[in-house]
């Protein structure tokens, strides 16, 4: 549903619909003024308008000329292309934002300059604000610096801790290897054949000596000699009592 439009012409309502497309500016200028200056103004304005509209149409045509590639590309290539395009868009957007910021800054500073020229700079609230802003900025910079220093210190401490940890790790590793070596050596020693034969020999000797001890003991007991009287004799007998397996 559409209601009828309400029309209003800056000049007298000429048939702008009918005149559309023509360079028929005399018609649009209408009957309001016959003064050539107004007509000239109108002409110039129309010229500017037409230029702008032409620019818009041209840009649309240019935009539509970019065709998507028709040939069949592999998936990876397509993905790579898409990424490239997206990166381009990102870059353009960022550049645009930066330019806009710069433009805003320029506009702001220009307006500020004009404002300052008008107002007596010493008594205005603006100067107070600006001074306050400067103070705050200094504070901000100082605290930034302080926090940066603290972060540096923290970083140093962390580095030292890491170094210590690494040193302790290496030390513990050394200890462990040493212990393992010792264990291995011990095991080797215990398992070697030489030691087994030596041990066997030792056992043999101990047994022989034990037998000899028992023989002597029995000899002495059988001789019914009083061995407790003579200290040298006593010592010999007691020595024969020694259990050689315990040594």
């Amino acid at each position: 549903m559409e209601k009828q439009p309400g029309e209003q012409a800056a000049a007298e309502p000429a048939d702008s619909g009918a005149g559309g497309g023509e360079g028929g500016s005399p018609q649009v200028a209408g009957a309001q003024t016959a003064r050539p200056e107004d007509r000239l103004t109108l002409l110039l304005r129309l010229r500017a308008q037409t230029k702008q509209q032409l620019l818009e149409y041209k840009s649309v045509v240019d935009a539509n000329e970019e065709k998507t590639p028709e040939q069949i590309m592999q998936d990876k290539q397509i993905e790579a292309k898409i990424e490239d395009l997206e990166n381009e868009i990102e870059d353009v957007k960022i550049a645009f934002e930066i330019k806009k910021l710069a433009l805003d800054r320029m506009q702001l500073s220009a307006a500020l300059k004009k404002n300052l020229e008008k107002i007596n700079p010493k008594t205005s609230v603006l100067m107070d604000n600006m001074k306050h802003v400067l103070k705050l900025n200094k504070l901000i910079m100082k605290s930034h610096q302080e926090s940066w220093d603290l972060e540096e210190k923290l970083l140093d401490v962390r580095k030292k801790r890491l170094q210590l940890k690494q040193a302790s790790e290496s030390k513990l590793l050394e200890i462990q290897t040493e212990k393992n070596k010792q264990k291995n050596d011990l095991a080797n020693m215990e398992n070697s054949d030489k030691i087994k034969t030596i041990q066997q020999n030792l056992q043999m000797e101990i047994q022989i000596t034990t037998v000899i001890q028992h023989v002597f003991q029995n000899l002495i007991l059988g001789s019914k000699a009083n061995w407790a009287e003579d200290s040298a004799f006593k010592e010999t007998v007691l020595q024969l009592e020694k259990n050689l397996t315990m040594i």
Binding site: M1, P5, S16, V28, L42, L46, Q49, Q52, Q53, E90
Partner: protein
């Protein structure tokens, strides 16, 4: 044709046409009157429509700017606008579409005033949350205007803004294009880098 395209017709000489789409006929009419009262060097034409698609049997000039009017009090207006948006070509959204939200000022008035129930379809509370329309404008990358269309002064102000926007979108302002305006209208709340 059921889809509105921005550049399919020749522009009228010194003519700028705006299309207001919304369900509140009285408000649209008032806004149209305010816009026509503004003095502007170009000839203004205001079309009012309840919803798109527009009937194709009418010979109408090239539409330079579409403004969708949503009333925060009625969900129907939002749904209507959302459905009408399907009939607009995507190239229109390069700066030639705007959203106008009305009814935000009445948010705090209780449902039953001294006059009894308000007009049909309007409750005292906003049935649409402000964020819904903000998200809608963000999805379509279009500028969002807030205005209480009932108050004369505000209406005149927004009419002035719309007239200026219309002039730019119709190409009557040298050096500024609709796309340019779109980038300039982005406030710091919704920066262009969002939703990449």
């Amino acid at each position: 044709m059921s889809v509105l395209r921005p550049l399919d017709k020749q522009p009228g000489l010194n003519t700028a046409t705006i299309l207001l789409v919304g369900t509140e006929d009285a408000l649209l009419q008032q806004l149209a009157d305010s816009m026509l009262k503004e003095d502007c060097a170009s000839e203004l034409k205001v079309h009012l429509a309840r919803s798109l698609p527009l009937p194709s049997n009418v010979n109408r000039p090239r539409i330079d700017l579409i403004v969708f009017v949503v009333n925060l009090h009625s969900k129907y207006s939002l749904r209507n606008v959302e459905e009408s948006l399907h009939h607009v070509d995507t190239t229109f959204f390069l700066g030639k579409v705007g959203f106008l939200i009305t009814g935000a000022a009445k948010a705090d008035i209780p449902a039953r005033g001294p006059h009894g129930f308000s007009a049909a379809g309007r409750e005292g509370h906003c049935s649409i949350h402000r964020n819904t329309v903000v998200r809608l404008a963000r999805t379509y990358r279009s500028p969002l205007l807030f205005c209480d269309l009932e108050v004369e002064g505000f209406r005149a102000a927004v009419a002035q803004r719309l007239v200026r926007m219309l002039q730019i979108c119709a190409g009557h302002v040298p050096g500024v294009s609709a796309l340019n305006l779109l980038s300039l209208l982005r406030s710091s709340e919704n920066p262009a880098l969002e939703d990449v």
